[in-house]
């Protein structure tokens, strides 16, 4: 085919220039692919954190209002740690203080206020909801002080989830894999059994069939599970009904849940489901998965900003520069070939045929640029994977008004959970298709710039360049 032969020969003749243009495009495309891959990696890291927190199938999470002490200070009866004249003290707000030296205080708290369990069924019946499960998230805090009376508290504790044993496919436990023993079955609803995170089990010498005391009540460990630690998942799982009966420091969650995990029937329906739940539960905090991503803070967020803002603009700038260079070089090449095009016009070639030839050459350079750019993109993604340090993700951060310094801590206040997440950029098929489209578009843009010149070329003028 003459078109291909001519195209191939011409590119071979201008090999260096063709390579330069293709490499310029490749650089821009490579950057776009790398940035897109990094963005995908960051999104994946965020999603990893979130799935560990809220489970794999959860589209919307409903929590009761965060328990916040009033601005004036913690409510009466709540335990406080104070720094008295003779050392640390355990105090009851509005009550008396006793020395904390050599003592340990343990309290179980709910971070969110409760919602009636009947609301779970109401949410499940909403239009667009595929499934809903209630849960309870509790935090056990232990504070110990040395006998010396020094104000150097040793903090300990664990997080605990009450799981609806009839709906284990929703919630944090759904993201876990059983390492030994087994997970809950529906019949465990009222049993004093626990499933334990493998890390917690290892640090506390627990295994399947071990005995475990939670809030003064004995449980039997039935399974050990492995979980992605990215989202600081719960240490212990017990049946929801049993969790509801646990004595808490403040109030009770009897017949209540403090979290509802919801799966929407379709991704498109999530906003509508979110609105419906908000209207059903006006006081509750309704968060969709995309909004949850915004709750993750730390360097993972900085990485996301870096990829999405700086990276995107850098890629756009390099791409524009590559397109501009390709246009200029193509116009220069056309200028050098004016006599050739004039000859072709004299032979009876129509302008559009000559333009097609030049566009074909440019498109071929674009395709070469796309191939090299995708390769560079993969290399960039691999380099990021290899050299990028783990990014930190901070989740569940709740500020506690009134707890302004180390002098005063609310026992059971929400700890800021910061975890390290690996950044694994991934190049998707969609990004590759985008890269090819961009590169070919860049090539065609350059070809169009040259073609514009050809179209304006009068054959006699073109031939006079050599005459």
């Amino acid at each position: 085919m003459f078109f291909v032969t001519y195209l191939r020969r011409e590119l071979r003749r201008r090999m260096r220039q063709a390579i330069f243009i293709a490499l310029g495009l490749a650089l821009g495309i490579g950057l776009v692919v790398t940035v897109a891959a990094a963005s995908a990696g960051v999104a994946k890291a965020q999603s990893k954190v979130l799935s560990a927190l809220y489970g794999v199938g959860t589209d919307v999470t409903v929590t009761g209002q965060v328990s916040q002490p009033p601005a004036a200070g913690p409510p009466k009866g709540v335990g406080e740690i104070g720094k008295g004249a003779n050392g640390p003290e355990f105090c009851v707000v509005g009550g008396k203080c006793t020395s904390a030296a050599g003592k340990t205080q343990n309290e179980m708290n709910s971070l969110d206020s409760g919602m009636s369990q009947s609301k779970v069924a109401e949410v499940a019946r909403l239009r667009g909801v595929a499934a809903a499960a209630g849960g309870i998230t509790l935090s056990d805090s232990t504070v110990s002080f040395p006998k010396s009376g020094a104000f150097t508290p040793q903090m300990g504790g664990y997080t605990l989830d009450g799981v609806d044993t009839g709906h284990t496919a929703l919630g944090p436990l759904s993201a876990a894999t059983v390492a030994s023993g087994h997970s809950f079955i529906a019949a465990d609803a009222e049993a004093h059994v626990a499933v334990v995170d493998s890390g917690y089990a290892a640090s506390h010498g627990l295994r399947a069939d071990s005995a475990l005391t939670i809030d003064g009540i004995k449980f039997t460990v039935i399974g050990i599970v492995r979980q992605a630690q990215a989202g600081n998942p719960p240490d212990l799982y017990i049946p929801l009904k049993v969790a509801q009966d646990l004595p808490l420091q403040a109030g009770s969650l009897k017949n209540d849940v403090n979290t509802i995990y919801v799966t929407a029937a379709s991704a498109a329906g999530i906003p509508a489901v979110t609105r419906e739940i908000s209207s059903l539960l006006p006081g509750a905090e309704v968060t969709s998965a995309s909004a949850l991503a915004g709750e993750v803070t730390g360097s993972v967020t900085s990485a996301a900003k870096l990829a999405n803002d700086l990276g995107r603009w850098l890629a756009v700038l390099v791409l524009i520069a590559a397109f501009a260079v390709a246009c200029l070089l193509t116009m220069a090449a056309v200028a050098r070939r004016v006599a050739e095009f004039g000859t072709l016009k004299a032979l009876g070639w129509r302008t559009r045929r000559i333009v097609a030839q030049v566009l074909g050459e440019s498109a071929a350079m674009g395709v070469a640029g796309a191939a090299a750019g995708v390769g560079l993109g993969f290399a960039g993604a691999a380099i990021i994977t290899g050299v990028a340090p783990k990014v930190s993700a901070t989740v569940g951060a709740n500020t506690v008004p009134g707890a302004s310094d180390a002098n005063l801590h609310l026992i059971g206040g929400s700890p800021v959970q910061t975890v390290a997440v690996g950044l694994h950029p991934s190049v998707t098929v969609g990004v590759i298709v985008l890269a090819v489209i961009l590169a070919v578009a860049g090539g065609l843009l350059a070809g169009s710039a040259g073609s514009w010149r050809i179209a304006r070329l009068r054959p006699a003028d073109a031939l006079s360049r050599v005459a």
Binding site: F2, R9, K345, L347, G348
Partner: protein
Amino acid sequence: MYKLTGVTKLYQKGRRTVPAVRDLDLVIEDGEWLAVQGRTGHGKSTLLNLLGGLDRPTEGTIELDGTGLGALRDAQLTRLRAQKIGFIFQTFNLIPTLSATENVEAALIPLAIGHSARCRRVAAALESVGLADRAGHLPTELSGGQQQRAAIARALVKEPRVLLADEPTGNLDEDTRDDIIGLLEHLWRERGLTLVLITHDTSIARRAQRVGVMNDGRLQVISPR
């Protein structure tokens, strides 16, 4: 047959208007060989461009076989060139990346002739100019004379009615010049072509049926037959 009536071509050079061809009346019969001489810059190439439809006259009309070239649209002129007019240039104007065969084939592309027919006609054209054994060579691998032969084959492969040659031997040595002019004369006679040939060489001009001299944009036919 060409019929030129009151043809003038003006160029704008800055603020100056330069007449390249002035008030030219000329008839070139079918199968005639007209040689045009004249000093550089006196309008010879402009005349050839006007005859080939590569340029349009500022005033006057140019008819080829009764068709006014000035009235044709660009696309129609392009088609006319593709079908009826062959060009030969002083600098050969072969496409450097294409072989002799492919250069000749390039002239058939606008005619949308099938591949096998193209191959047959290209081979015959190269054979007719004695270049069959150099068919696969690039222009840089051919001598000046061979390159001009390839250019002649390219001009003739589409079997045009008119052959317009702009100093076809200007870049050749004396022996090669005689070969090329001998070849052109042979093809002109054999195919009954209308040949308009621009040359500085009086010995070549003498072989034509008529010789015209361009002087300051005016053509004076000095040896009518």
